[in-house]
Amino acid sequence: MADKNLTLAISSSPHLRSPDTVSNAMRDVLLALLPITLVSIYFFKLHAVFLILVCLAAAALTELLFRKVMNKPSSLDDGSALVTGLLVALCFGPSTAWWTAALCTFIGVGIAKELMGGLGWNRFNPALFGQCIGNSFSSDIQLSFFNICLDAPLSGRN
């Protein structure tokens, strides 16, 4: 019976997939970061909101730029850029200059992630890589747990 014109998909076994995807995993990470994000916004108000938005945008734009220049398809839909952006923002003090945060995000996503081969090929965590570079060169963002907690946290100054 080979006279029916059927189009059948072929692939190697297995033919079933779990619903888990990288995008779902990244969404779960963002959800896990939500409480601390809300706490930061509560304490540091607009400074926090601004910094978070700057880093999210920087991360997304960096990934877009690098992938375009390297002739690769966009990978924003996996959500990993947003996770990196949020992580960078959350590890800086609220008085950090926006361009410092953006630059560190750019270094993290661009060098540690995209130039290494993209998601999965990074040797270092992109967010922490960016933060380390930034820490080495700028006293502006040096994060001190005690400064933040004990030293007038509501004013936002380290």
Partner: protein, 437 residues
């Protein structure tokens, strides 16, 4: 009821509801059957017939002198029209005997005998004559398996049917219980095992009850209930769960005193011993979310899958994929003129909605595959090394130990075709090993 299990593996959706309550049915014969001369593990058969020959159902039409091989038989009365390569369900072409099916089929003349009087040699000879091979899918010649070189203390009946969708073994357990029991006892006798154990997954409570009621209180026979986890039906995982014994890598179950056989194989053993009936038909499940009339159907070996699909109502809507076997280890079909062989347990009709995405990302080193691999391998490393051509490293990380169950691919969030990478790696590694020798 204690429920046993093995480590790792994955819980899959069952998808059994389509066909688990459907009694075994039969369908009209096709116009032509195509019997591959090599449908088992071991040496291929040479044809004993030629075009023009009349054959009867049960007649031996292929044999090999190799120890590890199995005879093939005509499954119908008919006339041989060709002995030539024909499409095989794995995508290759295999030399096959093509038989035009007679409009009128005669009555088979099986000779009944008392199975309780058969010696071990007679049992093995009956099985060899019948061309029986493992019907769970591996298709290993049964008379060889039942001639283990080491002493056996336990014979396990593999009644797990751990692949989603498939329910043929389940129905056989319910509708052919006595045949199964007798076949299992005959196989147990052939390997002189003092213990007979049925390993059944808990999603078949009616089958567990049916078997338990038959073996209740009998010494040396027990039923072990198993958690519905894939791949419980894989031999080594089954032995681990039931007896807590590990078959070392590169070794076989008889090295730990165990022989395992599938439900359908045991029933075939019974039929061979009792009637001298060869392996000429089997029950398989036609199912899937795209199947118009999912059912468990008894078909003759060599029936083209297109005929079976048509007789079972075909596709409900648009066709997505046709799979021969189960959804985890089965083979996607590109054509419907491939035929049923002894190890064919199912035909799955998938709608386009169930066809998995093929785009995949890089390995994100999440480790889920490592967590779930039943062989405790590192599919993440194996797949990235294979992907980048480093088959030597893939070998070091155990690519050859993979039995291609597909658990890693199922759980991978990057949708990586790890089993496909492993298959390629195995090919390259084997070639490299051969080149070194």
């Amino acid at each position: 009821m204690t429920v046993k299990t093995f480590s790792q593996g994955v819980f899959l959706p069952h998808y059994k509801e389509f066909s688990e309550k459907k009694s075994i049915t039969t369908i009209p014969l096709p116009k032509e059957v195509v019997i591959p001369l090599h449908q088992h593990t071991g040496a291929p058969c040479r044809a004993l017939v030629k075009p023009g020959d009349e054959v009867k159902a049960g007649q031996r039409i292929g044999e090999s002198d190799a120890f590890v091989s199995a005879y093939v038989h005509a499954s119908v009365d008919g006339k041989v029209t060709a002995v030539e390569p024909r499409p095989y369900f794995t995508g290759t072409n295999v030399e096959s005997v093509v038989i035009e099916v007679d409009a009128k089929q005669g009555k088979p003349a099986w000779q009944e005998r008392d199975t309780s009087k058969l010696s071990i040699d007679e049992i093995r000879a009956a099985i060899k004559d019948a061309g029986i091979v493992g019907m769970g899918g591996a298709a290993f010649p049964t008379h060889v398996k039942l001639s283990p070189p080491k002493p056996i203390d336990a014979f396990i009946v593999n009644a797990c049917e751990c692949e989603p969708f498939l329910t043929c073994d389940h129905r056989m357990m319910l509708e052919m219980t006595d045949m199964l029991l007798e076949g299992a006892r005959l196989a147990q006798k052939a390997v002189s095992a003092p213990k007979l154990i049925f390993g059944v997954e808990t999603n078949k409570p009616d089958a567990i009850q049916a078997l338990n009621s038959k073996i209740a209180g009998e010494a040396g026979v027990e039923l072990v209930a198993l958690d519905v986890k894939y791949p419980q039906g894989s031999e080594k995982q089954l032995i681990k769960a039931v007896l807590d014994r590990e078959v070392p890598p590169g070794k076989l179950p008889f090295d730990v005193g165990v022989v395992v056989q599938n439900v359908a194989t045991c029933i075939a053993v019974y039929e061979a011993c009792r009637y001298g009936k060869p392996s000429i038909e089997r029950v398989l499940t036609v199912t899937g979310d795209g199947a118009a009339k999912p059912q468990n159907v008894l078909v003759k070996m060599g029936t083209p899958i297109g005929h079976i699909i048509e007789q079972c109502g075909g596709f409900k809507g648009e066709a997505g994929k046709v799979i021969m076997g189960g959804p985890m280890t089965g083979w996607a079909q590109s054509r419907l003129d491939t035929s049923i062989v002894k190890g064919s347990s199912g035909i799955l009709l998938f709608s386009p909605a169930m066809v998995a995405e093929t785009e995949h990302k890089a390995c994100v080193r999440c480790g889920k595959c490592v967590d779930h691999c039943p062989m405790f391998l590192y599919p993440n490393y194996i797949s990235t090394y294979a992907e980048t051509g480093r088959f030597d490293l893939a070998d070091e990380w155990g690519a050859m130990d993979c039995f291609e169950c597909g658990v890693c691919v199922y759980v991978c969030p990057s949708n990586r075709p790890i089993v496909q990478f492993v298959r390629e790696a195995k090919k390259q590694i084997a070639a490299a090993r051969a080149a070194r020798n």
